[in-house]
Symmetry: C2
Subunit: 336 residues, 2 copies
């Protein structure tokens, strides 16, 4: 690898001038041309490591997420990547598997590599941001809060849970169950709250507690919970899945039991990008994951360039995509 010194020598200028050319600082046209020529000849690429060491900041941002195999997070990642790339940043994708120790390791690396900032979907509310905050690196929270007073962008989870449930109620379903994620994850709790609020208000006669299942936010969690619900003495006639993966698991089990939606009503909070279902069979509350990534990345970039206003939280709304064309009378055969 050629260095700035070799380029300088070949171009007949000082190393500083070479640096200036590559950093857009004013340099006479002739020298600038000479430098570019020499650089091309030597296949010179600036050494980012040295640059980072000197400037104490790199053009890399970290995106720390709990599950890279969840399409929701890859969609988010796309959003982040698109705006980061336009601004000349690359993004390191860090997968924590919801484990605090993995998360902590990645946060240390972010400090230690002088990364410009991090976008974090926290593994839990226990996440320790003291060090990275102390290092002065901006952090923006996505999807979930952190217990710190920092920028964030989240979904309107309660509203999404309500919307999903309401559509099922309007479709004529009564015993509407809810499968959600781990109780300590804020998105899981909030979406379940949305479900509960609609149930107690609109269907007070239904015993809500036995119809609520906490699980993992994964396909197998949806499967297990759905099986358990079907095994109930009085099984539900519909179910709200609190995220995309739980929805997939639940629908898989229903299909295997011959209960393909809408035989048993299903509403899912989160998009189902790779589903092969008839689009009219399931109510989906689409969550703007990509937009969340875009917004978070923009906020982070602002912080990186020195903005130090008060911490902001942006709330994004899901968009309901109902199971049936409006006006059609639904559910009459499925309600008991």
């Amino acid at each position: 690898m050629a260095t700035i010194y070799e380029v300088a020598k070949l171009a007949g200028v000082s190393p500083a001038t070479v640096s200036r050319v590559f950093n857009g600082v004013a340099v006479s046209d002739e020298k600038s041309a000479a430098v570019r020529d020499a650089a091309k000849q030597l296949r010179f690429t600036p050494n980012r490591t040295a640059r980072t060491l000197r400037k104490q900041e790199s053009e890399v941002i970290a995106l720390v997420i709990p599950d890279i195999e969840n399409p929701y997070f890859t969609e988010l990642a796309r959003g982040v990547e698109d705006v980061a790339q336009k601004a000349g940043y690359s993004v390191v994708l860090c997968n924590t598997d919801s484990q605090l120790d993995k998360e902590a390791t990645y946060l240390q690396i972010a400090i230690s590599e002088h990364m410009a900032g991090v976008i974090l979907a926290a593994a839990s509310d226990q996440t320790d941001l003291d060090d990275i905050r102390a290092a002065g690196r901006p952090v923006v929270a996505v999807d979930r809060g952190t217990g710190y007073d920092i920028d964030g962008v989240v979904m309107a989870n309660r509203t999404a849970g309500q919307a999903a449930t309401e559509h099922l109620v309007q479709a004529g379903y009564r015993r509407i169950a809810c499968i959600t994620g781990p109780e300590h994850i804020e998105t899981a709790a909030e979406r379940a709250q949305g479900w509960r609020s609609v149930m107690t208000r609109q269907l007070p006669e239904v015993d809500v507690d036995e119809l609520l299942r906490y699980s993992t936010f994964r396909v197998d969690g949806g499967r297990e919970s759905m099986e358990a619900l079907l095994a109930l003495p009085e099984p539900p006639d519909a179910v709200v899945a609190a995220n995309n993966l739980l929805g997939v698991g639940a629908i898989q089990v229903l299909t295997e039991h011959g209960l393909t939606p809408p035989k048993l009503g299903v509403a899912v909070v989160g998009s189902l990008p790779f589903t092969t279902l008839s689009p009219s069979a399931v109510t989906v509350v689409k969550l703007p994951a990509r937009h969340m990534g875009v917004t978070a990345a923009k906020m982070l970039l602002e912080r990186i360039s020195g903005d130090d206003q008060q911490a902001r939280t942006v709330v994004l709304r899901g968009e309901v995509q109902p199971a049936r064309p409006a006006g059609e009378a639904p559910g009459s055969t499925t309600s008991k």
Copy 2:
């Protein structure tokens, strides 16, 4: 951020000794303890940037892939990440959207950040690896070859295409179409070849050319191609989708047309992790994407630690998961 100088001062030793402690070089027990103490007090984290600059190598590997939203590649990424992490490496995920310029940029960054190596699913066979090879960084190809004589791990694509097609033939289908990816992508071409070889051998009376569609390796590509096939004067009675996303798109369209498999036979090369279909409706040739990632990462790690034997290529086989339990007579109602 504390430096080794501050730690050294507090511990009453030289900076060199601090460095040794953190690099597992022999240091007396007392001094070692003093250093660790001081480091803890100062919340010292070694500065990786300085380390990288000095050692001319970082503990980061790049994983360059065409589509981060494809579950096939995220599964691959998981495999890479798991072995990398155990070896103390972090992995930077780089998404190229199959664009050569984005890919080239990431490759330059890999050089410029002194990354230890790269795992690459090339955007096309035009990919230029001259610079990165010249920089002495090992590159392992995954999923697709590169035109360079380097390590690689690929799927048995032709075999997979054959297996998918054969299962459809055995199920009694005759006019079996094939939807594959861009012609210039080796996996797309090879899987289609597998399909073609079975067709010409076993069903020579079928006109194969009008049943083959080149498309993008994405859901919408599968949708468009399936629509076009259904609009044919003599539509197919079955279809082979050459990757997971094409399969999803094709099945979506079939579902919308009331032709849910197995009414029209479907075989997919690649797993369908988020499908909600009955598992017996579609033949799937499962591709070991995670294993591919694991294998590639191990090969890369070997190269990084100085192994310079001849370039190797590992071929991984898919595993057929047939649409129907063996012994059941299929397809009699669907064949013309």
